[in-house]
């Protein structure tokens, strides 16, 4: 029911279990109590008593963000499914409640972090904070990465037996969407040190590379960023860095 409510029908239940430790149980319970109480009050008045069962189902949504530093974004929403028996003056009533509870929790996993996890090399990142539930790592070029310790343990155990793509496919269609991007990033990181430098004429482009190239031509950072933003609509993802520089300069001249 929770999956239907979230509009997801092909996600593995194991994935939901994986994020069970995300939610703040006390806060969720408090909100659930409020929601059920409010619902019974609204329907049957304020003096009825109720008793029931409830389930909190975490449903993750995946995004891939390639800006600045590529990372996998997992937004976890908690869905409540509750059945309550309400004793009223007219008798005993059963109600069923479903809906999202609380604010979504967002986990941002940089690709370099996921790659280090696969390589069992998380020690390369300095731990800057830790509490009973979460650990925060410092990742160069990104905001501090704060992740639940249980989630990391479970993810580490999962990835011991299956590939990242197989894990993402368990998320259903949304996993299939981001799998090529995640797989590409991980492969790029894996082979980063093993390949020869590629000449500019054959190298692909990124926004940062383009800005850096313009800065090396004596443009200021702000100017370079502005030129790139202006040229972005004309820049295809599959052109070379050399072609991207040429188009950006042409667009910049045209804009002036």
């Amino acid at each position: 029911m929770a999956f239907q409510l979230a509009g997801i029908d092909d996600m593995s239940p194991d994935i939901s279990d994986m994020f069970a430790s995300i939610a703040d149980a006390d806060r969720i319970n408090s909100e659930v109590e409020k929601i059920i109480g409010t619902a019974t009050r609204n329907r049957y008045g304020g003096k009825e008593t109720w008793k029931g069962e409830r389930w909190c189902i975490p449903i993750p949504e995946l995004h891939y963000d390639g800006r600045d530093i590529p990372q996998l974004i997992i937004e976890v929403k908690i869905y409540l499914v509750a059945t309550a028996g309400v004793r009223t003056k007219q008798g005993f009533r059963l109600i069923t409640l479903m809906g999202a509870v609380g604010k979504p929790e967002t986990l941002a996993i940089p690709m370099v972090f996921l790659h280090a996890l696969l390589e069992k090399d998380l020690g390369r990142f300095a731990v800057v904070a830790r509490d009973a539930a979460n650990t925060t790592w410092e990742v160069q070029g990104a905001k501090p990465v704060r992740l639940p310790s249980d989630f990391i343990s479970e993810l580490t155990e999962t990835l011991r037996w299956k590939s990242v793509v197989a894990w993402l496919l368990e998320f259903g269609s949304q996993g299939r969407c981001v799998a090529p991007l995640v797989a590409g990033s991980l492969l790029g990181l894996q082979f980063q040190d093993s390949t020869q430098p590629v000449p500019v004429t054959k190298q692909g482009w990124t926004t940062d590379d383009l800005v850096s190239a313009l800065e090396s031509m004596a443009f200021r950072h702000g100017e370079a960023r502005e030129m790139v933003n202006r040229a972005t609509p004309r820049l295809r993802a599959d052109i070379t860095l050399e072609e991207a520089i040429r188009l950006t300069l042409q667009t910049g001249k045209g804009g002036d």
């Binding site: 390639g66 590529p70 590939s163 793509v165 197989a166 496919l169 368990e170 299939r176 799998a179 090529p180 991007l181 797989a183 590409g184 990033s185 492969l187 790029g188 990181l189 894996q190 082979f191 980063q192 390949t195 020869q196 430098p197 590629v198 054959k202 190298q203 692909g204 990124t206 993802a237 599959d238």
Partner: protein, 356 residues
């Protein structure tokens, strides 16, 4: 969970990979997918490891492995033919050696026989020399005996050798005048008053003539015997010289055969020592040029002083090298020791030429 990326997804993944790894290509991604999908196939990883080992140890790239395999097959066939030819040659050499040994045995036997015969001839010659000496002594004794007997007769006849010689001269003188000595003596008897003396003289003269003839015949027989012995001795000497020449010829032939056996043994040793690397030599001979290079990395030279395996790399190329394939160091030197071993100017491209 089975899932394969579409072409577009592969292109997208490769594009994202190029953010971190600019050289990453779609083909590499597809290769990795194929590797992942085939990793469970039995023998696949072993094959990949084998190719990697081939690349690392033999310097043959994976893409060149099949070509190298075909080349090796051709080399193997060629070597098989060469081995067959060499086996035939070896068999021929063995036959030659066997024949030479048999010939050597026969010659040795003939030499022994000739030496035995020579020893026999020498022994016979010695015996005949002894017999000749004994005969000479005997003849000498006989001559002395005859001389003594003649002397006795002279004494008995109361004539001297001079008398006999004078009588002989007289007889010759008389016969030169057409008279016989007896006639002259008869005439003398008629003209002399000493009848007995004349008879004695006539008797002495008659006997003297007979003894002279006997001595003459004996001397002629002795000369004949001596000439025959000399002739026989000369024949034996000639035979001995012939045998010496034959023995010298056989010794020369024997030393030549021994030299042949030594040379053939050298050939067999050469074959056994270098036949195993003939494939490498054939392969190198197929190169247009060969450079013998050694790395000049000073760091490896230092480590090589402590551990030979950690020293500078030595390698052969068919093109002028740019860097050391072992450590990437760009200062390279020609391997002078190999050029000296080949008696070839250092640094000059070598075209390896094998004999027929």
């Amino acid at each position: 969970m089975d899932h394969e990326f579409t072409v577009e997804e592969i292109r997208e993944a490769a594009r994202v990979a190029r953010i971190y790894c600019p050289g990453f290509s779609d083909e590499k991604f597809e290769s990795l997918m194929e590797l992942e999908s085939r990793a469970d196939e039995p023998g696949y990883l072993e094959a990949v490891q084998g190719l990697l080992r081939l690349e690392e140890e033999k310097g043959v790239l994976c893409t060149e492995a099949l070509d190298a395999y075909e080349g090796l097959l051709e080399s193997s066939t060629k070597l098989g033919k060469q081995v067959a030819g060499l086996e035939l040659k070896l068999q021929s050499l063995k036959d030659q050696i066997r024949h030479s040994k048999e010939e050597y045995g026969r010659i040795k036997e003939a030499t022994g026989k000739a030496e035995r015969e020579l020893a026999g001839v020498r022994g016979k010659h010695g015996e005949e020399e002894k017999e000749l000496n004994a005969f000479k002594k005997k003849a000498e004794a006989e001559k002395q005996r005859i001389d003594k007997e003649i002397e006795d007769y002279h004494q008995r006849a109361n004539v001297t050798r001079e008398d006999v010689a004078t009588a002989g001269q007289i007889k010759a003188e008389v016969e030169s005048h057409g008279f016989a000595l007896e006639l002259v003596l008869g005439l003398s008897q008629e003209f002399t008053g000493h009848e007995n003396a004349r008879e004695k003289l006539a008797e002495g003269l008659k006997k003297h003539g007979a003894l002279t003839r006997y001595l003459k015949e004996l001397a002629e027989w002795g000369e004949g015997q001596r000439a025959a012995l000399k002739s026989e001795l000369a024949s034996l000497e000639s035979q001995r010289r012939n045998l010496d020449e034959s023995r010298s010829y056989l010794e020369t032939l024997l030393s030549q055969l021994q030299a042949d056996v030594t040379a053939e043994e050298e050939l067999r040793r050469f074959y056994r020592r270098y036949q195993g690397v003939s494939g490498l030599m054939e392969h190198l001979a197929g190169w247009n040029q060969v450079f013998f290079i050694r790395c000049n990395n000073p760091l490896l030279a230092l480590t090589g002083a402590f551990d030979r395996n950690s020293g500078n790399a030595h390698f052969w190329t068919d093109k002028p090298p740019v860097m050391c394939p072992h450590c990437g160091y760009r200062q390279l030197l020609f391997d002078e020791r190999l050029y000296e071993a080949l008696n070839w100017p250092v640094g000059v491209p070598l075209k390896l030429r094998l004999g027929e």
